[in-house]
Each structure stands twice: as C-alpha cells, then as structure tokens.
Symmetry: C2
Subunit: 433 residues, 2 copies
C-alpha cells in the first residue's frame, strides 16, 4: 500500500533549477540556475557551481523551473474540505452550527471518512505544501485513518483528534470527560508509531471545551509531551462569549494559559488572532506561541483582518494557514496573496500606521515562518530538513523577459497546483518526475 518503497531515496543528491528561499523576513535569496544539495534528508545549502566532491552523486535537473522550500500550512481542517467554497453567508458561530458541525458529524461513519480523506490527502499532496497542522474531528478512528493516509503520502503533519464537550450538537460531543480522556490517550498511543505524522493535542476552542475537559487535556499533554493547536480571538462575538464562559480568565488566551496549554513548555499554535488584546499578545510573545494567520478565512467569515505588521514588529512567531473550510483553498499561494491584499485593505481602511505586507514577508511566513513550528524547516540554508517544491510556470505565458524574482512574485498571485511539478519532503520524493 505505502509509497515508501516506490520512490528512490538517494542518500545524497542535488536538484538543479532557479532556487528561491528566505533567510530572514527581509532577505529573499534568489539563485538562478543553481544547485541545492540534500544529504540524508538534510539540506547542505545552495551552490551556483556544484562542488567537486558532489559531482559523483545524482543531480536532478529541473532546468528553467523554480525550486522553493516546501510551504507550510499552519492551520487546516481536513474534515471541512468537502464543503470548501460553500455556505459562507454567516459569521463564525452560526457557520459552525449550520455548516461545520453537521459535516464533521459524518466522520463517525468510517466509509464516509475514507472517501473524504482520500480526496483531502490527494489534493494536499498535489499542492505546494509539504507540512501542515491539521484538525481532524472528534472521532478517534476517522482521525487515525486520516493519519494513515497522510503517512502513506509522505506529507509531514501534526494531526489532532478534536476535543469538544459543550456548545456543540449531541452527536459531536465527548460523552464525558473520563471517556474523552481515555479515548484521547488511546488515539495518542495508536498514533505514536507513525514516522511522518505526529499527534497534536487539539481542544477545538474554549467555547466548546469545559474546564474539566481542559484540565484532563492538560494532564494528557504533560504525560505525552504533546504540542497544542487551537483557535484564538477570531471573531468579536466569540471573544465576548469566552468572556462570559470564563469570567476569571484575564483574556481569551488566558483560558488556555491557566491549563498550561498556551506555549511556554510545549510548541503551541493558535489560529487567527484577529482581535488579540495587548495582554494576550505579551503572553504569546513570552511563551513563543505561534500565530497561524488565515487571511482568507478571516474575510470569508467576516472576522476582520489581523494586524500582522504589528505582530511582526513585536517579534511574534507566525506562519500562514489556509483554514479550509473557513478558507476555500489549500493553496498556500492563495494564502500569501490574500495576506498581502488584506494587509493593504487594513492599511487603507483601519490603521495607516501599519504598512502593508510585501512579497518577501509573505513568502517568509509561508515557508520559514510557519516551518519553525516543525523545527529547522522551510528554508534551503544548511542544516534545514530538505523539503523542496519544483514549480513549472511555463504555462503562464509572457512576451517580455522576467527575472526569477519576478516569476516567484507572479506565482504568489497566479500559482496553483497545476504548477507543482515535483515535491520532496525530508529528502524523499513524494510526487512528480
């Protein structure tokens, strides 16, 4: 069944093409007609000329194609993929009740999950993303099935069985905290054997998790030393609701923090942070909580536009998320374009002191920025895990000469899965020629 054996996995090789990667958020490196070297899944750097010592190893020549680090989707809901592009006439809470929860309830049926997750995994594999932080549903078996499919595809991902026990329909709620805890531990035990896919603790969001459930998850986190993903300060109505549900919490994020699930000890990524207050931002900074900025979802659900410039100036850890199905597309190109566009609208309409994002910045966020959640990921600097995506943009015709920098910029607005012609993850080729 697995793909592990059908691809050659050379110990040492190089890819040749027009290589683009971020060193810092302001420094985009462009190496036309150059080589990027992989040894045992780790990048040895980029060379204009292949060093003598490397000439005996295979070189895969992608000619005039662009080669970029694999992109990282820091926030996506696999079970919501079937209704991408549908039913976005509500704000967050109504949207969850009307569209999301009824769809997620279907994953109690493993046959449905099988069909749906085949489609999701296939499309994610065909995209420019090599890593992702993925929400499953409350269902242990369906979540394990998703993990198996991702494992076979070669995609490296954190995947979470969702925990939720209140403010959600009967058929999408943990029976009680005790069984929720047992079920979650069983899921973790069963998923520890995967090589590419890892479990991540996933309380859905504060409105759907009782204090007792949070306490139990906190114990599980410590026992298994798991990273955490959840949602934070996405929508004004949601934030007000959290205030009412947790009157003791100083701010939304504090409702995670009091259970030790807000960074500090273990890697934590929070989606959205559209309306985070100052105290919340300070704790996120101190605890190195990652922000998954999801601009398309924040537009579709009328949430608003996160002050990304301010987060960058504050030195917060950040990447981009597609947030399917609040977002419509798995494309990280689309996420980058929307991040630029929304930052311009925010600058024009809300706060002209926060300059719009530029190409260098969103490319960094989609690669090295989000990649940091996975370790040394998202760049072609020496020592980084070797995730590479080959982009053939030859179908985007043009009458004039374009530099490699211009072709990369254009891909952010015009690129899609048609242009992804090969993909390597951790040194292993997972698709393409």
């Amino acid at each position: 069944m697995g793909n592990q054996n059908i691809y050659n996995y050379e110990e040492k090789y190089s890819l040749k093409g027009n290589i683009c990667y971020s060193k810092t958020i302001t420094e985009l490196c462009i190496a036309p007609d150059s080589y990027v070297i992989c040894e045992n899944g780790i990048c040895l750097g980029v060379y204009r000329e292949l060093p003598e010592s490397l000439r005996e190893f295979p070189c895969y020549d992608y000619k005039d194609s662009l080669i970029i680090p694999g992109l990282v989707d820091l926030h996506v809901h696999a079970p919501q993929y079937p209704f991408r592009g549908l039913g976005m006439d509500e704000e967050l809470i109504e949207w969850l009740n009307v569209h999301t929860f009824p769809e997620e309830a279907k994953y109690a049926d493993i046959t449905y999950a099988e069909k749906a997750y085949d489609i999701f995994t296939g499309d994610l594999l065909g995209s420019a993303a090599t890593r992702a932080c993925i929400f499953g549903t409350i269902h242990r078996q369906a979540t394990l099935l998703l993990m198996e499919k991702l494992e076979r595809s070669g995609i490296k991902a954190y995947v979470g069985k969702v925990n939720m026990d209140r403010n959600s329909p009967e058929n999408l709620r943990e029976r009680d905290v005790e069984s929720a805890g047992k079920d979650t531990e069983k899921w973790i035990e069963q998923s520890l054997g995967f090589q590419h896919v890892k479990p991540i603790l996933t309380p859905r969001f504060i409105p759907a998790c009782s204090d007792e459930l949070m306490r139990r998850l906190s114990d599980i986190q410590k026992k298994y030393e798991l990273p955490v993903q959840s949602h934070l300060s996405e929508n004004l109505g949601e934030i007000q609701w959290v205030r009412e549900l947790c009157p003791d919490a100083a701010f939304y994020g504090d409702a995670y923090d009091r259970y030790g699930m807000f960074g500090g000890g273990y890697p934590t990524v929070m989606a959205h942070c559209v309306h985070s207050e100052e105290a919340e931002i300070e704790v996120m900074k101190r605890n190195q909580v990652f922000i998954a900025h999801c601009p398309e979802s924040n537009a579709n659900l009328s949430s608003g536009i996160a002050p990304v410039r301010s987060y960058l100036e504050n030195g917060l850890q950040m990447g981009l998320g597609s947030d399917v199905a609040g977002g419509t597309s798995l494309s990280m190109f689309h996420a980058m374009a929307m991040a630029v566009q929304c930052s311009k609208l925010r600058w024009r309409l809300v706060d002209s002191s926060l300059a719009p994002l530029n190409i260098e910045e969103v490319f960094y966020l989609a690669s090295k920025g989000g990649g940091a959640f996975f370790g040394k990921v998202g760049s072609f600097e020496r020592g980084y895990e070797f995730d590479a995506v080959v982009l053939d943009d030859s179908t985007l015709r043009h009458p004039q000469k374009l530099s490699v920098r211009e072709r990369l910029e254009r891909m952010i607005y015009l690129g899609d899965d048609r242009h992804v012609s090969a993909k390597y993850i951790g040194g292993r080729k997972v698709m393409g020629l």
Copy 2:
C-alpha cells in the same frame, strides 16, 4: 486565419445540462438536467423537457456539466496582461508611472504587441468571459491588431485606443490634440468593419487628458456615436489631483460630464467608483452610467473597497471588472469571490449598515449586470443573445452529494479556466467540444 469557418453554426440547437442564470439580482434560476435553446444566436429560453417542435434540431448534451451565461468583464487592460501579478507595492499613480506606462510604451513595437496580444486573447478565450470592455494603449496600430485577434477568436468586445496627452511619459502621450483627433478618427474608421469587436472612446482618466483633448474627443463621440469607458474616483490621491487639475468641476465625474462623456446620451462605463461622493452618484444614476466594480484591483493598489451595497440600493447599473493588471487574473470567478470577500471586510471594518454581497448578487453582477452594457446579454431568458459557458467541475472532488446550486456557488470560489469546457458567443461556438 479566422475561426469563423471552422465551427458549425447551426441555425437552431439546444444545449443540455444543469442550467444556472439570473433573472434579477435576487432571483437565481437553477434548472437541473434541462435544455437551453438557441435560434439564430438568440436564446429562446430554458426547458425541463425539450418541446416537441425542437426535437428535430441538434442537441448538444453536456451531461452533468453546469451551463451558465457567458460572463462579462466590464474593465480590463489588455496591454497590462504581461505584468499581471507583478509590482504591486505602490498605489495607483506611482504604479502607473513605475510599472504601467513603461510596459504600455512597448506597444509602439508591433512585434511586441503581436506576441503580447496573442497571449491575452488566448487566455481570455479560455476563460469564462464571453464579453469584455477592453483598454488598449495609445497606439492605433497595436489596438487594431488586438481588435483583429479578438474578432478572430469570436469574443464580443468593446476595445478602446487610449487617449492621453498629459502627466504621462513623452513616449506615451498624443503629440498634440489635432493629431490625436485625426489618429483616433482613423482608428475608428478602420475598426468599424469588425463584426464582433467595436470601438469605444477611451480617455485614460482625467489626470492624463487635457481639456482640449476632452473637447476633441467629445466631438468625435458625437460624430461616431460611440460609447465611452474610463476611470473614476479610484484612489484618494487621484481624486485630490483631479480637484487641483479641474478646479471648476463640481466632482470628479463632472470633469467627464462637462464634455458630455458621462452617460446620458451614449453608454458609458466607469471603472472603480471606490470613493464616489453623493453628487457624483446622483449624476451617474440619472445618466445611467455603468460602474465596473473591480475589487481585486482595489485591494492590490490599496485603493479601498467600493460601497457596492449602497450602489445596488441606489439602483445604479453595475458589473464586475478584472482590471488586469491592477487585478492579477482574467477570471471572473475570482472577481466574484473577491467582491463577496471585500464586501464582508467593508461591513466588518467600515460600515456595518451595508450588508455583505451574497452569491446571487455577485453572479448577477458578473453576468446580467455587466451584460446590460452590451444590450440583452448575460441571461438565458427569452430574447437574450446566446452566450453560454459549459463548466465541467468533475475534477473538484467531493464525498457528499451537492446540489446544482451548491456546485455553482463552489465554482465562484474554486473555478478557473480548467473548468471551462465549451463556450458559445452570440450562438456561435468559439471553443471546446
């Protein structure tokens, strides 16, 4: 050379499929597994069962595909297509000077124009648009070449040689008003022979057109009874500049109106209207000036978000424009999605009294709303010109059942030229099987 002879053009035929079209801005008609009838290029309506009298004529069965009226791009710059997705770190005026004018100057070279307009026409033909209002450049010959290519493709379009004589580089300025007038008249005379493509008077925008030039164009308009296209109230700096350039004009639009080029007599379409003041809107309504709403461009150039809901409530004529290369894509699906998304952000960030746009509304704007500029265009009601686009969405996989309405909604967010499998314009098949 021409395509005119390679397609069969039956006098009377039907298309079979899942038919979707707007009757009004609130009434989206969905006819699953039905027939739409064409006679001599005119639509005879939609039927669930093929009437007895029509059974002897050919029926092209598109099975489970969607069939929609051809979409209408009310504002696009053909010569800017080469730099779509590039160089959008400036606002309007700087962007024109740094990116647009240097590119447009290249069209003095007919060899360059030949290459560039081949690409533009090919991509427009492959898109879901069947009609467009197109800006060329100042160059008569290149503009005629563009018109020839469009004519051969079968696309129905208004195309304008651009007029501009100030605030633009030496090599992109009419020599003097006299020669501008002569050249423009010559272009009109030369283009009157086209069947599908028609000339439209195109003063670039007030900052680039002297009073003398406007006066001359006004005479030409009356002589040839031409429609007009231009730009209006796009950017705050631009509006302030117009105030300084035309201190006598009561508002930006008045600077067109005093030369009789602001609707009333002849069809007129103005792109953008992001920041139109009340007096301007009143005259636009009275004179039935069309608004080309270009949401992606307005985001990319940090112009803002037009109050579309308010224009709709005011009963203004309106359609959507891609505004390439302020916009990055010719896709009218993308224009629809951005129109919804931007209206939500405006609702959240600027004015919660103006409700966001919905699917019915943007589909209407992209079809019948913009189509009205061309006459009875953009619907499958009886008597409308027969523009039809067949959409094969089978590659967008899903595990659940979807209604035709849902599939149409999804196409707005996920559709692109891959899904356009056949296209008819004025009854004539111009692409596909």
